[in-house]
Amino acid sequence: MDILMPQLGETVAEGTVTNWYKQVGDSVRADEALFDVETDKVSTEVPSPVSGVLAEVLVPAGQTVKVGTRLAVVRGANEQAAPAGGAAPSHAPAQAAAGVHAPASQVRSLRLEADVAARSEKRKLSPVVRRLLAQHGLSAAGIQGSGRDGRVMRDDVLAHIGRAGSTQPAAAAAASPSPAPLPAAPAVAQATTDSSMCGAGERVVPLNSIRRRSAAAMARAWQSVPHVLQAIEADYSRIESARRSKGPAWQAREGYELTYLPFLAWATCQALLRYEQLNARIDGDRLIVSRRVHLGIAVDLAHDGLVVPVIRDAQDRTLSALGREIRRLAVGARGNKLTPDDFSQPSYTISNSGVFGTLITAPIVNPPQVAILSTDGVAKRAVVVASDDGDSLAIRPVGVLAQSFDHRAVDGAYSAAFLKELKRLIETRAWSDDLP
């Protein structure tokens, strides 16, 4: 049958063929992409209306023609080659075959059907199937579907994986904060614990629901956010001295250790108030800047996923209050005792790997936030101390503060200025005065 230039809009009179997916002689299935058309309004892929062989290309790529122009001929499987001169094939619509314009409405409705068919083809993959395919790097094409109309169901994918002896799902960017609070679903998808998909010497570790969600969000963030990592080294002497002098009383009063984190949280809030474009969210092509710091604290759930409870209005809290709130959130998160209110949207996040003595961590920004800070391990180092009497070596507790930021939101100099301010606060504030 003849393939005509479709009408891609009420007011569109012509279109440009920009690409042919098939060459003359190739076979093509109904609904399979045949060529691309560009108009002043849209650029779109046009599928073949029938199955058959591409017999002729009448309009090569790059050419602009009027709507209804014959572009090509696809010959059906049981269709004879048209006699030279282009006489109408017996079963094709006479008008179209004769090169006469098909009524626009007819063209459109043909296209509509094709669209619907194409869309529902895609839609037939359920969310869980898409997730499994993505995790295992598979495509649905090779999987036998057992659902209605051959739809590929979850169990089909799992069976396929089992047969193929596929290994574990691709690891997700796990060391980053979870995107959204979720009630820990008690059950893990049954089939993913099925050991039949393991090879010898392998073991299946099912991703729990927290990790699965964070995996999806982190993958999206990694793909969509242009990340830049910047780090600065800070001398923790003053914090260390406050911890030494006030820590025992704190421990006695509060019943737990006074860690570095409350100090860093306080300093981060103050620095964010000065460099507020890091305390912001991307909204289309705008940056919405907040004067209120809702500080997310990434909490590790005993290596079983991460959650990010939030200290609301952290900028208004004292060092002691931050310490207590961080403790409450950490204990609550690990005991699964926090409420949805504790998981509202953070405006900035701190991920603290320092307890493990890490040197530097490049965290993933969790949109719509535009930055995230990693606080890494603090260790005693030999440091050159400059003074009027000349340089000398001193042993000081030193740690790295690493910020990943979204380069769409701010530039390197801005982030660097923030880090410098953070460092200044950490190194110069009289921390002991902040504690009772």
Partner: protein, 341 residues
């Protein structure tokens, strides 16, 4: 058939109320007056947001009843409730702060002008849906009856309320269960913007309905605090003795419009002026003077009250806005708002 409680003839010797109560009454009237005026000033300064319904002109009803109540009695009132809440002892800074949406407000800014509540003072709430609190007052009275305390519940409402169903349900219910509740209709002549007489089948919206529930019709001069006090005392005595509810209609007048948005243009010329002649605060002062209370004492009360209103205003203005986490607090008894696990 309607009995009007007349103010008794005045003489220095005639004092069933007594010096101490009279001075307290005057102090209270002044406090309500000045506080309401202040609320209006703050509104003009754009410090009071939302709506507010002032009791200017109606202070004698609030003061007369409150003075006769015991600390553990219950008050239920409407959105025109600033005066009733203050009269039970709620702090002025708490009331003004609430109107201004400040953390020091009696409900920390969560209720607003129309929902002033101070349970510790027996002010069990201001109710903003006409008629709703009459059945609730029945419940509080039932509770007192059941628990065997002799607490009285007083329920204030406007003339417009007498035409809504809950009024009639509550009256019948209270009489059938013989509840210790005193219903007080503050008839200020206008339901909101419409004269009550034009939308009511009877001349006295509350009193003329009393007989339908087997109650005595009682009308009192709502601008005479002493008369209000006396009629209240009688109703309380009956209620505490287990003789059941009362329905009292207090004739009064609001000096301002229905709410802050209302300039009250619908009032006939001269009506306000006529009622201002019978201003309850002035009336009371004149009476005290006639009864021989020293001018100096009255001045001192006036100065002291003005100073306290100023202090309360300053304190409310200095109070911060409420913490935003309040939004999610106190939906439930556990202090939170979670609806899922």
């Amino acid at each position: 058939m309607t009995t009007l409680e007349q103010a008794r003839p005045l003489s220095a010797a005639d004092d069933d109320i007594g010096r101490e109560k009279r001075l307290r009454m005057y102090r209270m009237l002044l406090e309500l007056r000045l506080c309401e005026k202040r609320a209006y000033d703050l509104f003009l300064q754009n410090l009071v947001k939302g709506t507010s319904h002032l009791s200017l002109g109606q202070e004698a009803v609030a003061a007369g009843f409150a003075l006769g109540m015991r600390r553990d009695d219950y008050t239920f009132c409407t959105y025109r409730g600033h005066a009733h809440t203050l009269a039970r002892g709620a702090a002025m800074a708490g009331v003004l702060g609430e109107l201004m949406g400040r953390a020091c407000g009696v409900t920390a800014g969560k209720g607003g002008s129309m929902h002033l509540t101070s349970v510790e003072h027996g002010a069990m709430g201001s109710y903003a849906i006409i008629g709703a609190h009459l059945p609730v007052a029945c419940g509080a009275a039932w509770s007192a009856q059941y628990r065997g305390t002799d607490q009285v519940t007083v329920c204030f409402f406007g003339d417009g309320t007498t035409n809504i169903g809950a009024f009639h349900e509550a009256l019948n219910f209270a009489v059938v269960w013989k509840l210790p509740v005193v219903f007080v209709c503050e008839n200020n002549l206008y339901m909101e913007y419409t004269p009550i007489g034009t939308v009511t089948a009877v001349a006295h919206p509350a009193a003329d309905r009393a007989s339908a529930y087997g109650l005595d019709p009682v009308i009192v001069d709502g601008n005479d605090a002493d008369a209000v006090f006396r009629v209240a005392a009688k109703a309380f005595e009956r209620a505490r003795a287990g003789e059941g509810p009362a329905l009292i209609e207090a004739k009064t007048y609001r000096h301002s419009g229905h709410s802050r948005a209302d300039p009250a243009k619908y009032r006939p010329q001269g009506e306000l002026e006529q009622w201002l002649q019978r201003d309850p605060v002035n009336l009371y002062r004149e009476r005290l003077v006639t009864l021989g209370y020293p001018e100096l004492d009255l001045r001192s009360i006036e100065q002291d009250t003005a100073r306290r209103v100023d202090e309360a205003t300053q304190s409310a203005k200095a109070s911060p806005t409420p913490a935003l986490d309040l939004i999610h607090k106190d939906v439930w008894a556990n202090g939170g708002s979670a609806w899922r696990n």
